[in-house]
């Protein structure tokens, strides 16, 4: 299979790294080779945050080549506009979904989980792996609520 390239972007504190971690774990549990790349430190003090997630049979570069992003999850309009040129011609920009989710979800700490639910519709990873990945990351913290939010997003609307 072709390597899948997902770009997460936004600002510090939005749960972007957590979201990318969950996708990475889910892909790993489904048996894929995973590389996930991001930068910590000063860059994180409320500044821009981006995480590159790639999975497939064998992944080389940890960062996605410009113009090769298959799925883009932006959690911030400014960051979206700054990074959108990295999206592949036929790549999927999920910012519209985010904008809608932002209106719908009142407790913002579940926004990233909701977006993962949306993304899950396109990736074909197993439900068991998603659940295990979320368990790993959230531990017992609101785990039932996270499952619920994830499932509500992944079960409605158009399929791939």
């Amino acid at each position: 299979m072709k390597t899948v390239n997902i770009l997460f972007c936004g600002t510090g504190g939005q749960g972007i790294l957590t979201a990318a971690e969950i996708v990475g774990l889910a892909a790993m549990y489904d048996g894929y080779h995973v590389k996930k790349s991001e930068v910590h430190g000063m860059a994180q003090r409320g500044g821009s945050v981006e995480s590159h997630l790639r999975f497939g049979k064998e992944v080389f570069s940890p960062i996605i080549t410009n113009g090769e992003v298959d799925f883009m999850l932006s959690f911030d309009k400014g960051e979206h506009d700054r990074m959108i040129h990295l999206l592949k011609k036929d790549g999927k920009d999920l910012f519209q979904d985010f904008a809608e989710a932002d209106k719908k979800i009142t407790d913002k700490k579940f926004l990233n989980t909701y977006m993962l639910g949306i993304l899950s519709k396109y990736l074909g990873l197993s439900k068991e792996s998603w659940q295990k990945a979320m368990q790993d990351v959230f531990k017992s913290k609101f785990i039932e609520k996270n499952f619920e939010v994830f499932n509500s997003a992944s079960s409605n609307g158009d399929e791939k």
Partner: protein, 573 residues
């Protein structure tokens, strides 16, 4: 793929896991991005004495001492941390080791979180020690085990170079069993461990011979691999650059250097003989390229403009054509002090007093950015105190103030303070004691009274220490703009050396408690924007120019309230 024993680990975590499996018993480090997670990961193991040292020179020496004592040992720090440890490093190359000793340098091409982008591969040649360079987390785990073997086989420290990209990439990593390694015996051997001129002279002769043997090893090592495919185009690459080449030119021939130094000259010649055009791809300095040119091998290196910054996969085609760099990072959001950060009040006060501020390395370096713009020099760890020493003598002690964090002060501010007192400097040094090493993610340090393993230990008494160093006045105060401003004025005009310790308010990473956000009375707001000038992420100006207070983000520090002259912001009791 069997996923049972796999974890998604970063390069740093994979390295640490590999070192643990290789029987590691000691680890010394000082926090610094992108190296911090190595030591943090090792604190989970009871078999490993993992410690935050007060600075990198100390970390290096205690780690080297552990190797002398007979246990496998590791030193890790960011690239500039190695500068602090250079003194013992250069001579450890001569003395050699006892049990395996690995020096990890985590370089930062692209300066994601650093003051320079020095290329520490060059240290291997300078110090005459072997260099290993993984390109991925899985390789970091594999290579670190090899590093201990090389160290013991050749009686040498091994330089292990990570970069931000390798250190902070996560990959599936297989978790293995820990090897049981017996402690080596420490034998009294002055010819080896006492580096006086006569002994060191003989050691230098042995070191040159050792390098030849290491070169022979490098020739045979499968860390340096030739992959022959298309014979028209061949790449020589190391570290993550190798993966960018694989991504961009999957059909090209590659000589991958996992152990670039000592250079495997015969392997390089063999590769050169098989391909028509050679392109060298490496980040920062032309370390490999210059060696090939020195060997008389015709090759294309990157345009000099690509020495600046990190490489990306899309740059490889430019490098093949020797084109200059055209893309520079831009437009990303600048970092800012957290809501409720105790440093904010200090910088607001410093800005108001208009003094020249010699600053240091930490979160508070962000105080240099507008609108605070109240920090005017930053060079390296500890330099706030020493630069202040001279600035105050030349420009006047009432015009200059030094600012340094608690961890940085312990790292290398103490010697500067002793020097300032000894050489009769006057004026004010402010220690920002937020109770942690914040910039790197809140690690403990001697003034917090906790160890890396979160155990209680002796707590360094900063007040007594500053007095003992020779400060005339030492005062501890809370973080409020008005009292700090008052104290700055009071101490800068005295003909004394004073230390002001700003304490009590903790870094928001270790103290997540929030006080209520202030009340905002929009009708009283005159839009003077003084509240915005404190540069807090929780108070902003909207598109219409109205003040918007984000109560969810606000930690209730009330610095903005102190700024408001019109009562539009009111402390919420």
């Amino acid at each position: 793929m069997n996923t049972k024993n796999y974890k998604l680990l970063s390069g740093n975590e994979a390295l640490a896991q590999g070192a643990y499996e290789a029987g590691l018993k000691f680890a010394g480090s000082y926090p610094g991005t992108p190296a911090t997670e190595i030591l943090e990961y090792l604190t989970q193991f009871d078999e490993v004495d993992a410690q935050w040292a007060v600075n990198e020179k100390v970390a290096f020496e205690v780690a080297l001492g552990a190797s002398f004592a007979g246990v496998r040992s590791i030193y890790s720090s960011k690239h500039v941390g190695i500068n602090v440890a250079m003194d013992p490093l250069m001579t450890a190359a001569y003395s050699g080791i006892n049990a395996g000793f690995v020096i990890v340098t985590a370089d930062d091409p692209g300066l994601h979180s650093s003051q320079n982008e020095q290329d520490n591969r060059l240290i291997s040649k300078f110090a005459k020690i072997p260099l290993l360079e993984p390109s991925s987390p899985s390789e970091a785990k594999k290579f670190i085990k090899l590093a201990f073997e090389i160290s013991e086989q050749f009686d040498t420290p091994v330089l292990f170079r990570m970069t931000t990209r390798v250190a902070h990439t996560k990959e599936n990593i297989e978790i293995g069993q820990r090897q049981s390694i017996e402690n080596k015996v420490f034998e009294k051997n002055p010819q080896k461990y006492v580096m006086v001129p006569a002994n060191a002279y003989k050691k230098h002769i042995l070191l040159e011979e050792k390098l030849l043997k290491l070169q022979d090893y490098s020739e045979k090592s499968d860390t340096n691999i030739i992959e022959i495919k298309d014979k028209e185009l061949g790449f020589v690459a190391d570290s993550v650059s190798y993966l960018y080449v694989k991504e961009t030119y999957p059909g090209a021939s590659i000589l991958k250097l996992g152990m670039p130094f000592p250079f495997p000259d015969n392997k390089i010649k063999k590769f050169a003989a098989q391909v028509k055009k050679i392109v060298v791809v490496e980040e920062n300095e032309p370390f490999i390229e210059e060696h090939l040119l020195q060997m008389g091998i015709k090759c294309t290196g990157k345009h000099y403009t690509y020495r600046v910054g990190e490489l990306r996969p899309e740059n490889i085609r430019d490098i093949v054509e020797n084109k200059p760099k055209t893309q520079y990072p831009s437009g990303s959001r600048r970092p800012v002090l957290c809501a409720g950060c105790p440093h904010r009040a200090v910088f607001v006060a410093l800005r108001k007093t208009k003094v020249i501020v010699s600053g240091d390395i930490g979160c508070y370096t962000l105080g240099s950015l507008p609108p605070l713009a109240a920090l005017h020099t930053t060079i390296c760890m500890g330099a706030s105190v020493t630069i202040f020493d001279s600035l105050s003598k030349v420009l006047g002690s009432d015009k200059v103030v030094a600012v340094i964090g608690d961890s940085t002060f312990v790292h290398s501010g103490i010697t500067g303070l002793i020097n300032a007192a000894y050489n009769k400097a006057k004026g004010l040094i402010i220690i920002l004691d937020n109770g942690t090493t914040a910039m790197t993610g809140a690690q403990p340090n001697p003034s917090t009274g906790m160890t890396a393993k979160n155990e209680q230990t002796k707590k360094l008494d900063l007040e007594a220490l500053c007095k003992a160093c020779g400060a005339d006045n030492v005062e501890v105060i809370d973080s409020s703009c008005k009292s700090i401003e008052y104290k700055i004025k009071e101490y800068t005009i005295q003909d004394k050396l004073s230390v002001l310790i700003v304490r009590y308010a903790l870094c928001k990473m270790i103290d997540r408690t929030k006080k209520p956000a202030p009340l905002f009375h929009a009708e009283k707001c005159k839009k003077c924007y003084m509240c915005i000038s404190v540069d807090c992420p929780s108070i902003v100006k909207d598109e219409q120019g109205n003040i918007k207070l984000n109560s969810n983000l606000c930690a209730g520090c009330n610095v903005c309230v102190e700024m408001c002259k019109f009562g539009a912001l009111e402390k919420n009791k």
